[in-house]
Every structure is written in C-alpha cells, then in structure tokens.
Amino acid sequence: MVDPIPLLDIQELSVEFRTRSGVVHALENVSMKVHRGEIIGVVGESGSGKSVSAMTAMRILDPAGHVTSGSITLGGLDVLNASEEVMQKTRGHEASMIFQSPRTALNPIRTVGKQIGDVLKRHGNANRQTVHEMVIKALNTVRIPDPERRIHAYPFEMSGGMCQRIMIAMALSCQPELLIADEPTTGLDVTTQAAIMDLIRDLSKERNMATVLITHDLAMAADYCDRIVVMHAGHVVENASTKDLFAAPRHPYTTKLMQATPQGDGALDDIASIPGGLPDLRGDLPPCRFSARCERFEETCNTSLLSLDEVSPGHFLACRRPL
C-alpha cells in the first residue's frame, strides 16, 4: 500500500534565526517522513515551527534562518546541499507549495493566466503556442468555471476562494510529487474551506502525491490527514496515524490541543484553553519545551535530553510522563 521509501524525509533538522535580539532556536531535531499517496497533517499553535519546517524543505527560508544540523531528502535529492539552480528547478516542478491568504500570495498586477503560464514555461512543459491550452487545462483541474474568461482576470477581480484555486492550479500545473499546503484555508469562509480542502484531497489522492497540510485546526487535520505530526515550540512532540492519535493521544500537549478544538455537538464551555504561551525561543531552553505549561511536569522531566521514540508501532512520542 505505502511505498517503503518516503518521498520527503526530514531527519533531525535544527534551524535557528540570528536576529538582533539574539538567536532564536526555531527548530530542534525535527524529523518527519512523508510517503507518496499520503496526507500528513502538521499541527500546532502559531510559532511552533510548522511553516519554518516546510520552508526549509523547499529551501525558501528567510536569509536570517540557518540550518545548524540535520538532513532533508526529497525524492533522492539532498535538499540542504543541492545548488540553488537545482533547487529552482525542483520548486514548482517536483515540489510545490501553496500559502495562506491567496489574494496577497498572487502577483496583484499580473493576470492569473500569465502567472500560471510563467510556472509552466519555466519548467519546460509549455512554449508560446501550447501555454494557453495548458493554462486552461490547469484551471479546469481545479474546477474553475469559465476558464477562458478567468485566464485574463487579475487577482483583485476574484474572490479569495477563487484565488486559492488559482494557487492550487499553479502549484499542481507541473505535476509535482510533493505538495505542501501552508494553512491553505486561513482567511476563507467556512463553505469555501471545505471545498478547497476537498479539492486538495481529491487531487493528491488522484495523483498519488505526498501532501503536507500545515494547519492549527486539529479538526480539519482529523478529517483530511492519514497521519498527524504535533509540533510545539520547535519540537515534534507526537507523531501518529490519525486513528491512533485520536484513539489514544499520549502527549499532554496533544490532549490539550484536542480539548481546545471545538466539537460539532459540544458546548462552548467544553472548549479549554491551554495555559501559558509558547516559551521564548531565544537562549537556553529545557529539554522539554512544554514543561512550563504542563500539568504532569515533574523534576525528572528535564534531567536529560528528550528524544522522539516509537512507543507503539507507528506511534512516536517525546515525553517522559505520557498519558
């Protein structure tokens, strides 16, 4: 069923940002694997390192960000050591990424048709004659009505949902094997959210793509993902199949996240907030970065380095006092 060799393999990745006010340890020993045909959800609150992991995998991190250790393999390519030229050819071709707020993520003064055409021409799939036809085909794939007219539209003439479809069309136009969707439905209304997510799921299953869905919405991840990676303050704290995770969450943070997620039939009072905030990622941090917010914390928790261990088949956990 699943290919034994993962398409995207992130191993022990550490990233830090050198800023004026000190070094920010944004990621520490982050590992995750994504196979073809699989949708992985990366969840966690804002600032937990979800997007940084994704951008590092695409190598489009801000120049202030530095990889200090670890490795990333994408379909046999050593991402961290590849030349910039190779990476440019890989992006949009083998690996694509879509972003939140689609209306600002598209060039405001270029027609959407031209923007999709730029990607198609860049990766050698289209020339002047065929580009129009291929753009129309890409627009049809994402179920945009009346593509012949939309091709000449500017992003400001379209709704947010339409713009996100354009983004998806652009990302998928060159048949990538990996799709990273970074909060693709943030800023869209609820009905559009479902339509966009259905589209992403259908297309990734249809094409047997490896898909990474970055979200802070655990309920959405539960609906669409095969496996969920929970991140907190630059650490992966738990990594399990969706079924296992929801049946028996082991990490205290995961359970807190679940309690903080609204249920369809629950009352508003049932939603619990997680006490405290993310720790300051500058300077020295304890082995467990959740310890300051954790109810189960004991002195033994931070005595030695913590690692992500397989506690049951396919279920990984980084906690000394799991549930």
């Binding site: 990476m87 440019q88 992006r91 972003f99 600002t104 993520a105 598209l106 060039n107 003064i109 270029r110």
Partner: protein
C-alpha cells in the same frame, strides 16, 4: 493602444484642469503686481524724472486699474498673445518657445541619467541589504541630497573643463563655431540627428553632458532611495515568496514580479522629481550659462517684468498638468487596479 473610453477620460482630465489653470492665471496676475518694485521706475533708468517715469507707465499700460489691466491681459491670452517682455523686447511666446526646449532637453537628459544610475543601484542595494553596494547607495544618496547643485556644477566645470580639458566651455547650448541645427523640435541633439549632422550632435551633447549630470546627481538621491525602499518592501511580500516557491528564475522574480510592482511608487517619485527639476534648475542654468526658462524667469522677476513672469508661470502650470496626466496614464498601464477617473 487606447480605446475610445480611455481617450474620452483623457479629454475629461484635460477639461478638469481648465479651472485650475484659470485660477493660476488670476493668482499670478495679482501676485506679480503685489510684488514690491515698479517696472516703470526700473526701465526709466536712474536719471529719469517723474514725468518720463509717468510716460513709461502709460506706455506699459500700468496706469490703468488692475481690473482693466487684467481684462487686456486675459483677452490677449485668448488669442495666444502673452504680451511683450519689456526687458528683452521680444514677445513672451517667442522667448518661451526658444527657451523651454533648452530646459526640457537638459531636464530629460538629466532624468535619463539619474534613472540609469538610480534604478540599478536601488535594486542592487535592495537585493543585498548591508552589502558594499548598499553602503555605496547610501553614500550616493547622502551626497546627492547634501551637495548643492551650484557646488557640484562648479566642481564639474573645474575638473572636466579647467583641469582635464575634456569638456567644452560651459557657455550655453552650442559652441560658437557650430551653427544651431534647423529647428524642428528645438532640442538641439534631436534636431541635429534629424538633420543627419553627427558633428553638431556630438557638440550639442558635449555641452549638455555636464549640466545634465550635475542636475542628475541631485535627482538621483530621491529616486535611488525610493527604488531601494520599494524593492525591499515588494521583495518581502507574499507573492514574491510564491514566485520563489514556484521555482521561477531569479531574474523573473526580480524584474517581472518585483520591479514592476515597485515601479508604482517610483513613478510617483519620478513625477515629483521631474516637476521639481523643471522649476529649480535655474542654478544649473546659471552655472553653465544655459539659455533656459529658469534663468529667464529669474531675470524677469528681478526687474518686475510682468508679462514674462506671467508667461513663465502659465507655461509651467500647463506642463504640470500634462506631466501629471502622463504619469496617471502610465500608472493605468502598469497597474490594472487603477482607473483614470480616480
């Protein structure tokens, strides 16, 4: 390039400018007369007595009431007659036609020079913040705004003409041994080219080079600074990240995506710089004895030459209107979100 709709809007914009031009005519008329100094006294000379001053005043029509004077001025204006400059004895229209192209030619070349330097410099500085080229940009910008034009001009003349002898003497548009080319546009360089006279073109261009660079160094600063700031802002925007994540070439990301967006604020700055240049290149014109409109206006103002000052201000007002319209049209071509009616 323009549809019928766009043409209509352009005509509409021109019509909208008429009230402001009428306002400018009235204000200039009143202001010139409110200035201290009596032209009749000036032209009568130091030895004149009360009687001859009065005669001159009558001959200039200055004995009439302001309303009467304005009526005469306005009705002349309708026929295209801007009056006669009393200091040069020439009709103001002829003076303007002769001098305006000299200033425009200088301004355009200065603008081309400063764009050619400022845009690459600003882009390079924005793509490599805090590198040596960014520092260079900073130095050039600081030098450009802090060195007065007459100082740069004099240094240029001193170095290139006096010390190294590579530039022609800074005495007007063409050295005395050359004949001015047959007038078509009154831009000497263009007219010489149209005439096929490369030698005169070279001579006219050599005369232009130093004043244009002097003026260009001054206008370079705001342009380079705006280019850097606009590029920095655009380069950090979401759609540039999208373009990079799509694997587009660096040059495509930089020029097709980033620069075209950054061009909008640059264009606004360009308009401001251009109008600023037209009015204030009088210092450069003085240093290089350039027979332009700026030196004409200053001389006219000193001797209270009413017709000349009014003609100058009117010509400037019309130029500003045309300039703003041109910039607005270019804006609509670059940015689809902007309409001409806005």
């Amino acid at each position: 390039m323009f549809g019928n709709e766009k043409f209509k809007m352009i005509v509409g914009r021109l019509l909208q400018a008429i009230p402001s031009i009428i306002g400018i005519i009235i204000v200039t008329f009143v202001l010139t007369r409110a200035l201290p100094g009596d032209p009749a006294v000036y032209f009568a000379g130091p030895a004149a007595d009360e009687k001859s001053i009065q005669e001159i005043r009558v001959s200039l029509g200055l004995d009439k009431s302001w309303l009467e004077q304005f009526w005469i001025y306005a009705s002349d204006l309708v026929t295209g007659n801007l009056g006669v400059s009393v200091s040069t004895g020439q009709p103001v229209v002829e003076e303007l036609i002769r001098r305006l192209p000299a200033s425009l030619e200088l301004t355009f070349l200065a603008l081309i020079f400063s764009l050619a330097v400022a845009l690459p410099l600003g882009i390079a500085a924005a793509t490599r913040p805090n590198s040596w080229i960014d520092q260079l940009c900073r130095i050039v910008v600081t030098a450009g705004v802090s060195l007065p034009v007459f100082f740069t001009g004099l240094i240029m003349v001193y170095l290139f003409y006096y010390i190294w002898g590579v530039a022609p003497p800074p005495l007007g548009r063409l050295e005395i041994i050359y004949l001015s080319p047959p007038p078509v546009t009154n831009f000497y360089t263009i007219d010489a080219l149209l005439d096929g006279d490369l030698e005169t073109f070279g001579a006219a261009f050599a005369q232009l080079a130093l004043p244009a660079i002097t003026l260009g160094i001054f206008t370079l600063a705001p342009l380079a600074r705006m280019t850097r700031a606009a590029m920095l802002q655009v380069l950090s925007s979401d759609f540039i990240r999208t373009a990079r994540a799509s694997g587009l070439k660096r040059s495509t990301v930089l020029y097709t995506y980033a620069f075209r967006n950054a061009f909008l604020p640059i264009l606004t700055t360009l308009g401001m710089v251009f109008s600023f240049m037209l009015g204030s290149n009088v210092l450069v014109e003085k240093v290089f004895a350039w027979p332009g409109i700026g030196s004409f206006a200053i001389e006219a103002l000193i001797v209270s030459d009413y017709a000349a000052v009014q003609g100058f201000v009117l010509a400037m007002a019309i130029l500003y209107v045309l300039l703003n319209l041109t910039i607005d049209i270019v804006y609509t071509l670059v940015d689809p979100r902007v309409g001409l009616d806005g």
